[in-house]
């Protein structure tokens, strides 16, 4: 079975400042890792995902996350945030084999609030 821990429930930052949202996971099998974003009054959207290959993955709006197998982490970073990045961010893990153990497990979320 897999589990996900998002250590920070809320992260306030100033506009144009860098941000890191932390995510740690545990699993006994190989995993796929995801970051989803939920903007106010909207549904969940995939931000980026790691399936295999390069451990650094990027989104179209400037976020990036690095898969660190030794530290079992998948932290999300952005060098300079904008007001429009205000949202709740969910880290998720899924076993990479097609079985009943491969359901996606979400963390409890981190609310990112941007101050002007």
């Amino acid at each position: 079975a897999q589990s996900v821990t998002q250590l920070d429930s809320q992260v306030p930052v100033f506009e144009e400042a860098p941000v890191e949202l932390r995510c740690n996971y545990s699993s006994s099998v190989s995993v796929y890792l995801f970051w989803y974003v939920q903007y106010p009054n909207q549904g969940l959207q995939l931000l980026l995902k790691y399936l295999s290959g390069s451990t650094l993955v990027e989104s179209i709006n400037g976020f990036e996350a690095e898969f660190n197998k030794s530290q079992t982490s998948f932290h999300l970073r952005k060098p300079s945030v904008h007001i429009s990045d205000t949202a709740e961010y969910f880290c998720a893990v899924r076993g990479s084999s097609y079985s009943s153990a491969s359901k996606i497990i979400f963390g409890s979320g981190t609310r990112l609030s941007i101050r002007p």
Binding site: G43, S96, S108
Partner: protein, 114 residues
């Protein structure tokens, strides 16, 4: 391409009443998921369908929750009878079917049980 549709968007009921939610996935998506998202928590998978068969319902409270996906397209999730702790957002998602495929989420149904 139309997204995942859900209805109703909001529902208020009293405990012990019944309620049903409807989901229409993205056309061609074989896999459909129902999640429960309680305030302050991440979504929790209730049930996963592959076409019209159940793949995983291990976290579905089967004494009160039921779900079906007739003809492998639309799906309904029912709660009967509802309890106060069922107050949550119920999310439907769909994907093409392979494990690495992206799940696309609907806007959710916000349920309040009084």
């Amino acid at each position: 391409e139309a997204g995942v549709a859900q209805s109703p968007r909001y529902k208020i009921i009293e405990k012990r009443q019944s309620v049903a939610f409807w989901c229409n996935p993205i056309s061609g998506h074989a896999t459909l998921y129902w999640y429960q998202q309680i305030l302050g928590q991440g979504p929790k998978l209730l049930i996963q369908f592959q076409n019209n068969g159940v793949v995983d319902d291990s976290q579905l409270p089967k004494d009160r929750f039921s779900a079906e996906r007739l003809k492998g397209v639309d799906s309904t999730l029912k709660i009967q009878p509802a309890k106060l702790e069922d107050s949550a957002v119920y999310l439907c998602a769909s994907s093409r079917g392979r494990v690495q495929e992206t799940q696309y989420f609907g806007p959710g149904t916000r349920l309040l049980v009084l």
